[in-house]
Symmetry: C2
Subunit: 245 residues, 2 copies
């Protein structure tokens, strides 16, 4: 049975403050919930109109589902999962930071963009995503929805980006209008790639720490658009890092 305190908890988890206090977040829909059930994430509570999950659950009515769903068209189930600690057990922090290509986001604010970028990390095998503290919360329900389950496979941490990059021992890449043509660069297997805010790009304090400025050339005429969307720019740059050299 769905209780008032269940409804209160689920509703309050739309607030970042509450998610951080409780270390809980909401996942909606059958496919998404199944991906989280089959992952390292731990289930806290599951509510469904249908007994289709291999987990302990509350059977609820369609009317009750509508009360707890944040979607226009609720899809069968709503679950609450625990937010995992950033560093998986058995790996120390240093090791995580040093492996392969790391993506860092400098204040990406749009939930859809972050969701798409997490999905790109999953596709391109980027295991570590480092977000500035002002980047939108990855447990925001719109982000969770947009990642299509990729959130279960990418390790994401929020930190002071300046401190992180300062102590990072390899090259630091970022995209700028006046950077070097990315298509003619030899790109390494290790490094951190910084992508900037939707409106302002990479902030000045972070720009000072970039060792390699890159640019995605524009092929349209001079009157063409001034910038790419951050998610599509990330797609192009990750593709360049990963394609056979």
């Amino acid at each position: 049975m769905l209780t008032k305190s269940h409804i209160k908890l689920i509703t309050s988890l739309s607030q970042k403050k509450v998610r951080q206090q409780e270390q809980l977040f909401v996942v909606e829909g059958v496919k998404g919930i199944k991906e989280f059930l089959n992952s390292r994430f731990k289930l806290h509570l599951l509510f469904s109109t249908d007994a289709i999950f291999d987990a302990e659950m509350f059977l609820i009515s369609e009317k009750e589902l509508q009360k707890i769903s944040g979607l226009k068209s609720p899809n069968t189930a709503v679950a609450i999962f625990n937010i995992p600690s950033t560093v998986p057990s058995g790996q120390d922090k240093k090791e995580l930071e040093l492996n392969g290509l790391v993506l860092a986001l400098d204040d990406v604010r749009d939930p859809g963009n972050l969701g798409t970028i997490i999905r790109l990390c999953d596709w391109f095998g980027i295991e570590n995503l480092v977000c500035s503290n002002a980047t939108v919360d990855c447990y925001n329900s719109k982000v969770v929805q947009a990642t299509m389950g990729s959130l279960t496979r990418v390790a994401i941490r929020y930190t002071d980006l300046e401190t992180f990059i300062t102590s990072y021992p390899h090259d630091v890449f970022g995209t700028f209008m006046d950077g070097d043509d990315i298509y003619s660069q030899a790109l390494p297997k290790q490094g951190v790639l910084v992508m900037g805010n939707e409106a302002n790009g990479i902030s000045e304090s972070i720009e000072d720490l970039i060792t390699n400025k890159l640019s995605v050339p524009r092929f349209g005429d001079l009157k063409a658009i001034e910038s790419l969307n951050v998610a599509t720019a990330t797609a192009i740059v990750l593709s360049e890092f990963k394609r056979s050299r």
Copy 2:
């Protein structure tokens, strides 16, 4: 002065049927309207709370602006422009179809995705975008908003995609899970690139017409996500076509 018939017209233009009958569409916000005013598009009506445009306009109050705006936070002005004929004068249809790389969309349904793709066309100098009739209308206000003005620089036509591709004389490319690794292909300057629907990819009838099946390799592990978002996939594939060979 804002009249009742103005409000009725603007409100009704949220419907595709009315946009097609009237051959009119709505643009909101100062930056977007200025881009359209400086383009081949012809202004029909302009309403603004501020006399900042070099065009005939109706000065309206903030309250009136709220009545006609589709945005949560209205931005100064709302304009109605004429939908241009697909083929610019001085160019015949055949010429348009043959020049350079043509992008074709097979039932892309999400306005945000279409807007992002139009912006990518602008960036990569793709002058012609051909949409299947079931693709979301490019004069939908969410699409117009997402294109950030790129709609003024990309020629878009809606047509029966099967008929268009059948009569197209060059190679026809499309992305599939089992296509050839795009990173190892020599990609031509001329051709049509087909991108498919968000949920179903390229339809069977169109797949039969594809001469070159391409694939963007996945670098994540086997459990990784099964597909890329259509806008990010388009970004990667256009980048591959345009990068120096």
